[in-house]
Subunit: 731 residues, 2 copies
């Protein structure tokens, strides 16, 4: 066989790419190191071969784990064969595939009936699809190395049946718009590309004909979307990402979901270049990589939005392909190279090699994070998240659509980071992934009863109930509305959104501003949270802070015995530790964490309540972290109720020098200075007697409009939806 | 004046030392950098001069702070004058001293009556003594630069009166054996050395004649020790340090207390070399430096014994002199150089310069921590602490004498560190040093009601009462007894001690072994804690763990409302979260922290209770950290009650890979296999069916004795107090 066609059917590495790679001495660069590492990891299997047991077990069991080992190993063996030319790798794939060839036709659906879409090799089709995505790469790597007879056998008796099984024999799985089904689309498409089977490729890209069956999945979710008119891989891209690349389930799940999108895209780029897949929808796959990385804190940890395990970061192995493809097929952002360097490993793809070569040249700089608005929804019409960044501060406001089964009832909530750690946290998921003691590592009961509930988030709760009464299907139907996102002026960055459906008769409108001003040592947060009520209701605004409570201008009475704060909607998990009542129209709450002090300066109503609480009640299995929070409570009146505050980061403390600096904040008054149906304004002063007023139009977000209002004989005039005035200076 | 005598009266830097230092170009070494830093810091004062206000304020107030600034500034100005030759520094000292000269004679005792020993410049003599220790250095630096007339004035009208004031006019302060008084001895001695006033020097070294007055200090402590026969600096050294260099108040206070000892010692070394002060008591001052550094964790943080703020470390500025003197006057331990490097600054002494020179030569290696026994008491006869180290593990058992006012009722407690963080903690002090919100930064009420109590430590509590019923004077009278400390065999390290006075009719005897064995992935801890009772009593053994409780073989019932565990002795601060009862003779408690899992394997009695608790009850001002603990409870019978357990560190978890390894321990049974008045033995097996037996003689600690006992038909024969047998192998 002619060498120039040996790898013609490889989907991961083309002939020409391999030639370029091996023309260079890669010892000493990251590609060479990654190659050596892979060779070392595969060496034992070259000796032992790979076992192909009859499917029987669930996740964690032997047969499950072994089939997983098989596809990971074969995929890497294929790349090693292509790059090193050692036929032992090809032999390993071939002999393993022969075992599958012999047995697969005899296997029915997996004995476990747990899944709505049972696989053959695994208990669910998802894992069978994973197998095919990886194994099609291995098969492509040795396709032309096999004899025509061998290929014919594998094609007809193993791969076409498997592709048919995952598609036409399981249409409710294949046609679903869901990240699990993306794996099936990708697997069927990739094996189609290897075998040059245009029928399979078309099914993969465009799905099967849609029918109207209304099947449901394991969790009772409906299989076919209301109004769904398309299926297949392209429809998955359309559906999964917003035009900004935001993935509707949030960054923790996106990290995992990116692989089938990107590896099939790479395969299409290699074998169907005219599709221009990386330019599809204005390059949304590459935008998604950037969006994912922008949703990380200073340590690279993903914002723990929705169901997310905290601590997952861009150091995850799963990011390797995203980083390399993002660098090579994107605009060669040198910031990505620094992240690749941190990974210390590149994928054995051309993009991985190119990254390694450029890194070896010394190219690379710090990955730049920026303030960013990421819309949600296929057309960007379903809310989004706003990330405001200034110096060490990072504010994340969430007003996305619900995000399906992994979504939380967290609309208009925000979290705040300082130097890579949380000041105000989102709890994340109540789960210890893969830790057996904790319900086998799956989602814990408390994920639903606590982590998803509104009170677990830094947003308003009405009458002690979660948004949408905790009903996913209702929440899924309608999203909040972005009002303003503005980060051009680094000193006054604003994100603002409305939510009118979470509670009947309640209109929620929150504006958060991250202000950087030389009169303050750190950026600070203005929060204007208006709650418009059609009748009286209780308004509660929790603050899930970290650290040690220091002091409050509200006198607190501590409880001698502790009881839960409530009975449902998450309140049953909070111990009521202490409470007190505001007796002034300005109150402060002050705490310390790590090296900094924090003060929440509140424009209070006399009679507002401050409740100190701690998580951990009704938690029989010790599944929850016992984190603290405080809750501001107000008896809401019919009409507008504006919760207004300024949150300062200030001072410092070191246990080594024992020096304490500015342990109290610099603000000494906060007032709601203007509040109508059209405008909200907050004024605040500092200890140097300087005064500021922040105003936002709550109805007109046009940047063209000029506004003019008078507050206490002073004229305020500005253009665009909002402005910050320093009152002692001319604006 | 002849240059060779210009610095003849300097106590900090001699003539010859300065010559050596300035003969070298120090730019580029740490001395040069420290010099430049000091020059920069003093530059503003060369412009402005130093204010000498009439004393009025307490700590934190203007006059207090300014006089403190004055002595720190003058001291450094003196050294800068000696090293750089710039007379502006000498002028600054002289003009400042002239201000004092004019005013000091007019000042009576400070207006505040808070102190039992009121100062003149400050509210307490301690601060006046600080002033003198620093200022005598400054005065020595310019002594021969001044005219004879100037010297005479300063000597007669300022310094002799001040030395007399601190000694003969305040004998109950000067003669006291206490770290505060050490400052007075040092100050009087150092100014005596400068002025060549032998009378003052003798008073400083040997104290004033003792009288029998029984004055008390601010806290009601008696001024003169029972049986005290000596006073002065040498008596302070005798009294403060054990022969091993352990400082009786613990490392946190030692860090602060070392300065007057070392700076007066350095002065004596310069001006009274024949005293051979660094060889005094077998070189105890240098031993103390090593002992202090050995009492730090992997991050350099001091073990938080007694009243100690956590996080204080060898990065503290106060360690600079200790490190440099320890290096130069000790055995030039290169490990100290690496700590000096971490400080990034050296004192402007000859030892600081020598350290910088050697560092610049590239000398230096990791500071070696080792297992170490530090006896307490002037003769080493009053208990001590045992530190066992193996790989990442560090076990600290405490059985020192009480340690006066800052001591805790913590006898036979232990704490355990892994890789620089606490697995089992000592709470430290309930205090936020210098943070105004927290009672002005002083000791909090909860320091006494919680932090000092026995239940706040990992040691047995009898009938819910603290040791010595929480009475300091009684506790101060008698110390625990060391039984065994053995660390020669790295694989089986043992520390063991007895305490028979803390509770009436109760003999406590605890043996802790840190075992390193290839069958276990990490070192583990065997704990044999025998409680011999003269009548039935309740035994409680708390474990102050960090992290997330995972699971227990004891079924736990969580409380629906929380009440405090008790009413006094610290129990009033613990919420009772859950409890359960042992129904087997082997139980496990499993938790997770950071990256590792921990399992306590307990030889239980049926009916033993496990109580899960959390700190925070009866804490009206939120002064306590809300840390968790669990408590093993047993109804103790008359006679011996052996609490036996094995604590494992195992497995790993990463939130990035989400891989969980060995989340359960490797041990699967623990039994008390032999227990008489003469021997205690524990046997345990692991999941590979290997078995071990650890035996200790509880009466004979001689290493010469050969023991022989039979347990279940198996003969055990060994030499010395203890042995670990692997039962399936011949020992
Ligand atoms: Ca972080
Ligand atoms: Ca108040
Ligand atoms: Ca530490
Ligand atoms: Mg959440
Ligand atoms: Mg940072
Ligand atoms: Mg303590
Ligand atoms: Mg370490």
């Amino acid at each position: 066989m002619c060498v120039s066609t040996l790898f013609a059917q490889s989907v991961t590495l083309t002939e020409g790419e391999v030639e370029e790679i091996i023309a260079v001495d890669n010892q000493g660069n990251l590609f060479g190191a990654s190659l050596a590492q892979a060779e070392k990891e595969l060496a034992p299997y070259l000796e032992s071969g790979l076992d192909v047991p009859t499917p029987k077990d669930l996740a964690g069991g032997y047969t499950h784990t072994q089939h997983k080992v098989n596809y990971f190993t074969m995929q890497r063996a294929g790349l090693l064969f292509q790059i090193t030319g050692k036929e032992a790798y090809a032999e390993l794939i071939k002999t393993t595939l022969e075992k599958y060839l012999k047995q697969y036709p005899t296997w029915g659906r997996h004995p476990s009936e747990k899944s709505y879409a049972r696989g053959k090799i695994f208990w669910q089709c998802l894992n069978d699809a994973n197998w095919l995505v990886y194994t099609s790469q291995a098969y492509g790597s040795i396709y032309n190395w096999l004899s025509e007879k061998e290929r014919k056998q594998f094609n007809e008796k193993l791969f076409v049946p498997m592709a048919n099984f995952l598609s036409i024999e399981t249409p409710h799985f294949f046609n679903r718009l869901h990240n699990h089904s993306t794996w099936a689309n990708a697997g069927v498409g990739m094996i189609g590309l290897v075998m040059q089977n245009e029928g399979l490729i078309q099914k993969a890209l465009y799905g099967l004909p849609l029918n109207t069956k209304t099947a449901t999945d394991n969790d009772g979710g409906s299989i076919q979307k209301e109004g769904q008119t398309k299926a297949g891989f392209l429809a998955q891209i359309d559906h999964s990402f917003s035009p900004d690349g935001y993935y509707t389930e949030g960054p923790y799940y996106q990290r995992y979901a990116m692989y089938p999108f990107l590896i099939f895209a790479l395969s299409l780029e290699h074998q169907k270049k005219d599709l221009k897949i990386f330019e599809y929808r204005d390059g949304v796959l590459l935008k998604a990589i950037d969006a994912l990385l922008q949703q990380t804190d200073d340590d690279g940890e993903f914002f723990p939005l929705n169901d997310a395990q905290k601590g997952m970061s861009y150091y995850s192995r799963e990011l390797q392909l995203s980083l390399a493809l993002g660098y090579y097929y994107g605009n060669q952002d040198e910031g990505l190279l620094s992240l690749i360097q941190k990974q210390s490993r590149v994928p054995l793809t051309y993009s991985g090699w190119k990254s390694a070569i450029d890194l070896a040249k010394g190219i690379g700089k710090k990955f730049e994070k920026r303030s960013i608005y990421l819309s949600d929804g296929p057309k960007g019409e379903k809310g989004g998240i706003g990330v405001l960044r200034s110096k060490e501060h990072e504010l994340i406001m969430k007003f996305t659509q619900h995000g399906m089964g992994h979504g939380h009832f967290d609309r208009l909530s925000y979290s705040l980071n300082y130097d890579g750690h949380e000041i105000l946290q989102d709890y994340g998921a109540a789960r210890y992934v893969n830790i057996h003691q904790k319900d086998g590592g799956g989602y814990l009961r408390e994920n639903k009863t606590w982590a998803k509930q509104t009170i677990a988030h830094n947003t308003v709760v009405i009458d002690g109930q979660s948004q949408f009464d905790g009903k996913v299907k209702v929440a899924d139907r309608i999203a909040p509305d972005e009002f303003v996102f503005s980060a051009e002026n680094q000193k006054v960055q604003v994100v603002s959104a409305k939510e009118n459906n979470a509670y009947e008769g309640v209109e929620l409108f929150r504006t958060l501003a991250l202000i950087t001003d030389e009169s303050f040592e750190n950026p600070f947060v203005i929060d204007l949270y208006n709650v418009k009520l059609s009748e009286e209701a209780e308004i509660e605004l929790p603050y899930h802070y970290h650290g040690q409570f220091m002091s409050s201008s509200i006198d607190l009475t501590r409880n001698q015995t502790l009881s839960p704060l409530g009975e449902e909607d998450g309140y049953q998990h909070l111990w009521k530790v202490a409470d007190g009542e505001a007796d002034q129209d300005y109150e402060q709450i002050n705490w310390f964490d790590k090296t900094r002090f924090y003060t929440l300066n509140v424009a209070s109503n006399k009679g507002d309540q401050l409740v100190m609480a701690r998580l951990g009640a009704n938690d029989p299995n010790f599944n929850l972290r016992n984190d603290p929070c405080f809750i501001l409570k107000r008896k809401g009146q019919k009409g507008n109720n504006l919760m207004a505050s300024v949150l300062e980061t200030h001072g410092s403390y070191s246990t080594v020098t024992e020096a304490s600096r500015n342990s109290y904040g610099n603000i000494n008054s906060v007032t709601i200075s203007f509040h109508t149906d059209e405008y909200s304004a907050i004024s605040f002063t500092n200890k140097q007697d300087e005064e500021w007023t922040f105003i936002i139009s709550t109805v007109d977000k046009s940047s063209q409009t000029t506004h003019e209002i008078t507050i206490e004989d002073r004229q305020y005039k500005w253009g665009g939806p909002f402005a910050l005035f320093r009152n002692d200076l001319k604006q």
